[in-house]
Symmetry: C2
């Protein structure tokens, strides 16, 4: 079972805590690098350990389709499969099945779909999504839900949210049935609040899920294309409706600035593909905003990616060299930018935690947001 | 200037020595990982240092076209540009201009061609190839030659070889003109023996170049598509014609087995894209031959790439995991396989050297070649 100790709640709303799960201790607020297919794209597991990643996020939809859960179970679970000594979390695949798979059919039972890899037919239900995640063996698993896109009609949002909440209950039952009494190896399970962009639906979903004994609560369906102010308006509305004593996980968010803002609303956990995806696309976050090495202005720029950064890449390479690697299609460009971006995210989480523990998080957040350009 | 001390010549013909160049000491026989575009594909410079790479090989043709020699000169040369503390060598671009560039026109003056990147027009001459390499600033540079393909007519081979030898003389003159008397920063320069697949042409080329005061001698134009036995027949014929007291560099060769065989003919230096290229294509060398992870037999194989290997990848990952990464198109597959392959090549060179110094190289080579399958 998942332990969560709130060490400090800052006057700003920021929370610092410790999650303990199956022998792992995770300091919060935590950022979870995304290892969709059992690898954080372009990084090694020893690098992630060196960077201080507390937990990696795999994806049940992807891993179920490839390499398949049989192999992962046989080697002792996702962490063993990857050679990773830290904690792991799997997303249930709810989001992926709706965004990636062709020929989806949704019923009360679950979602039938075709694989985006080979077209094979599959059915995911709340029960099978939990069973798959038990086989993959992450420390924290997620309920199987039907996300709501943006924009969405109210009726559609209401239907998907009510169904997600019913599925959440089935997930919890399947989760308990999958474990044995007193089974310490049973992972922890989080519910996911949906509700689209309707506050009353968000409130209903939060209330329904709060009555169920999830180990933590995620806020899903944000940062799916809506204007940023709407994201934060809904986050500010939804977060306080969740049980205070359980971790709050804002799924798929976001830029460094998004994370700094979301912490003000008491969010404890984050994941996002931005540091890795942008890294592969030639972009780097710096302490003063985002730079894109595709821009010709960096052609002769002999300064490091981020003059304020102490990572190995910034200690070794110039923007001009990294731009050359990117233009030449070299893997070292993706490696270097991903490493730097992930370092920056993980250092940011440390700084956020320190500021909360020191009771000066609002000052930190305001200072941070002021010095950024509007690139995030 | 380049120093070369022959420490031991084994009864088999294998030579162990030390090259000293601009403050670097390189133990021979040496393998030079290929950093065509100022990066060894998929590896970092700190990894290459950790793996014990003594020297990296860049390519003047590629670097001249992108990022351009102005930038590299401004930062202090190739090693500084890459953030590499070891030695560097550049190939002149002779081979690349003939194999990559469209619309080539060869005259006694040099080669006019269009860039394979943007179609722009350029002229490379022996003089400009040396000037470009001086600007790139590697520790060892190569003469500009016109390679002969396989198969080639005798007249064509004779013409290209005679021209290459005349160009070699012009290269040496341009090299001296580019330096100042007593200039310790002047790089060392190697001549390249051509001659196609005609022994008398090889003998003429070796004799002509040996009369010129090159710091070392390369054997070019082998391993360009000819049967393996022809490669080694010509190598066995050509190598003894080169000055004994200067290093011998067999360009672009080869598999681990090729290297073990070539050392028997007194070769001191090697470069090859195989460990990196095969790594990106899902193949790994092992102590008993080559394996290709595309093969379905590795799907559930929980053994390391090479059970006899002590590299980080073999200590951490299974073939099943690496195959999954390769199938999923993940960068970590290329990284891991390239790292392992490069580790294997560099350990092999250490083993070769030890065997020569112990006077038991023939035994080593025979044992090595016996236990390999015919995959190299």
């Amino acid at each position: 079972m998942l332990g969560f100790t709130l060490q400090e709640t800052d006057p700003s709303g920021g929370r610092a805590g410790v999650i303990t799960v199956r022998g792992h201790s995770l300091l919060t607020p935590a950022f979870m690098p995304v290892a969709t297919q059992a690898t954080v794209k372009a990084l090694t597991q020893p690098e992630l350990a060196r960077l201080g990643a507390p937990i990696l996020l795999g994806n049940a939809y992807h891993l179920y389709l490839r390499p398949g859960i049989g192999l992962i179970r046989r080697v002792g679970g996702l962490a063993a499969f990857m050679g990773w000594n830290g904690a792991t979390l799997t997303d249930s695949g709810g989001y992926q099945v709706f965004s990636l798979a062709p020929l989806i059919e949704v019923s009360e039972e679950g979602v039938s779909f075709r694989s985006h890899i080979d077209g094979s037919e599959h059915l995911l239900t709340p029960e099978s999504a939990i069973e798959i995640q038990h086989a993959i063996g992450a420390d924290i698993i997620m309920a199987f839900d039907q996300p709501v896109g943006y924009p969405a009609g109210r009726a559609e949002a209401a239907e998907a949210t009510a169904r997600s909440d019913r599925w959440a209950e089935r997930c919890l039952e399947a989760h308990r049935a999958g474990g044995r009494a007193g089974d310490e190896l049973l992972p922890s399970v989080f519910g996911i609040v949906q509700g689209g962009f309707e506050k009353d639906l968000r409130a209903e979903s939060a209330a329904r899920l709060s009555r169920l004994a999830f180990d933590g609560y995620a806020i899903g369906g944000l940062s799916v294309g809506e204007p940023k102010e709407e994201t934060f308006d809904l986050l500010a509305f939804t977060a306080p409706l969740l049980p205070e004593e359980r971790p709050r996980y804002l799924m798929g968010v976001g830029t460094p600035a998004d994370i700094v803002r979301a912490v003000l609303h008491g969010v404890d956990m984050f994941d996002c593909v931005l540091p890795t995806r942008l890294g592969r696309n030639g972009s780097a976050y710096t302490r003063s905003g985002k730079i894109n090495l595709k821009n010709a202005r960096y052609q002769d720029d002999l300064s490091p990616l981020d003059p304020e950064c102490d990572c190995e890449v910034c200690a070794t390479h110039t923007r001009a060299y990294l731009r050359h690697l990117y233009k030449a299609g070299e893997i070292l460009a993706a490696r270097s930018l991903t490493y730097h971006n992930t370092h920056l995210y993980l250092r940011l989480m440390e700084d956020i935690r320190k500021a909360i523990l020191a009771g000066r998080y609002r000052e930190f957040a305001e200072g941070f947001l002021e010095q950024r350009d509007d690139n995030g």
